[in-house]
Amino acid sequence: MKKYISNFIVCYAVWILLAGVSVPELVLGAVVSAVLAALLWKLLNLELTWKTPFALVLFIAIYLPVFLFELVKANIDVLFRVLNPKLPINPGFVKIKTGLKTDFGKLILANSITLTPGTISVDADDESIYVHWIDVKGKDHDEYAKRISGKFENILGRMSL
């Protein structure tokens, strides 16, 4: 029942974003989401709890500004690297340990790493993320992790994702 309701809520939210807010759209969206959530019981694996709205608000208020700042920094970094005729790069594949528990948290962390300066995540397993780093700095893995994912991991860990 809990799973049904969370599937319903997610489908309905997507529908409202797509179709806008008006009475017929809301009615049709409710019908469509109810049918979808019932038919695709096995395929949709979304779990919402009572904490989800608060987590969402926290995510938008705290994580998003940090992430956007890093994204802008990443692009300026790329711009300088591209415009510099010598192309200062020293690439390598680096393993980063992460303490995040949930799959969703690790996904957000991996995508954030991809979109921040000089790094792109290649793959992940249970406790670490593998990253291609354009300009390897530092000596050991702890230092790599601190430089690449320190900020994000801190915030995401506090949100217990």
């Binding site: 599937n7 997610v10 489908c11 997507v14 529908w15 797509l18 179709a19 008006s22 017929p24 759209e25 049709l28 469509v32 989401s33 979808l36 695709l40 395929l43 949709l44 694996n45 979304l46 799959d103 969703f104 690790k106 996904l107 991996a110 995508n111 995540s121 290649v122 793959d123 992940a124 397993d125």
Partner: protein
């Protein structure tokens, strides 16, 4: 026995159709007035946005669509968004062929998919599915309709296949959905035949243009087409992935 019954059913259906069509005037006999009034003539004469005058081969400059072939002007201009959906179907078909051809050479195993793709497919799947349904339920208001919506649904299942090498959709469910949608389409057409005179006549009240609940049976037809196309293409994808494992 089954085949004889199916053949009889087909013949009976054909007779009903012929009777219905010949009963409604103006479809067997060429009725110029009816053709002039219909929307098709505007597409043929390329004057949908305004009167462009008669199109003369080799003389007319800058026709509305710029193409001489009327089929091309419809497919690539007036309904090109629908063509986007068809191009996707073609792309999926080509992909399936290449998967089959690629699995012919020995030694290629199914590769595991990565963590990132696997987790994000769980989030993107409902989004794409709801978008597909949105596209075909709003077919009478926005460009698109059954074909693009159906192919969006199929693409969301394709994403699941690509993200998880062990995933298998319930083929029987899709076959049933496809059959039901096909039957409903014919039934809707026959109701139109009985109520109004020709196949798939728009027998419901049409309402104000631009409202969600308007357009008579057109939204219903689009929902049916969308479900049919979606389940059909998903079935094809499933068959192809199964074939790849076997080969």
């Amino acid at each position: 026995m089954k085949r004889v019954f199916a053949g009889l059913l087909a013949v009976a259906f054909g007779v009903v159709l012929l009777l219905g069509i010949s009963a409604s005037t103006g479809l067997f006999s060429y009725n110029e007035e009816l053709l002039d009034d219909s929307a098709a003539s505007h597409y043929i004469a390329k004057d949908v946005n305004g009167d462009t005058g008669e199109i003369i081969f080799g003389e007319t400059m800058d026709a509305e669509t710029g193409s001489a072939n009327m089929v091309t002007s419809v497919i690539a201009n007036y309904r090109s968004f629908d063509t986007l959906g068809e191009v996707t179907v073609l792309f999926l078909a080509a992909l399936g062929v290449s998967l089959l051809a690629g699995s012919m050479d020995k030694g290629r195993k199914r590769r595991k998919s990565g963590f990132i793709l696997k987790v994000s497919s769980g989030i993107l799947f409902p989004l794409m599915l709801v978008t597909g349904i949105y596209i075909f339920t709003h077919g009478h208001l926005t460009p698109g309709g059954g074909f693009p919506g159906g192919s969006m649904i199929a693409s969301s299942f394709l994403l699941l296949y690509l993200a998880d090498e062990n995933f298998r959709a319930n083929v029987r469910g899709f076959k049933i959905a496809e059959g039901i949608a096909g039957t409903l389409y014919v039934v809707l057409g026959i109701i139109g035949l009985l109520a109004g005179g020709y196949f798939l006549i728009n027998f419901l009240p049409t309402g104000v243009v631009g409202n969600l609940f308007s357009g008579g049976i057109i939204p219903i037809v689009y929902v049916i087409i969308g479900l049919k196309v979606g389940s059909e293409i998903t079935g094809i994808i499933t068959d192809m992935f199964n074939e790849e494992v076997k080969a």
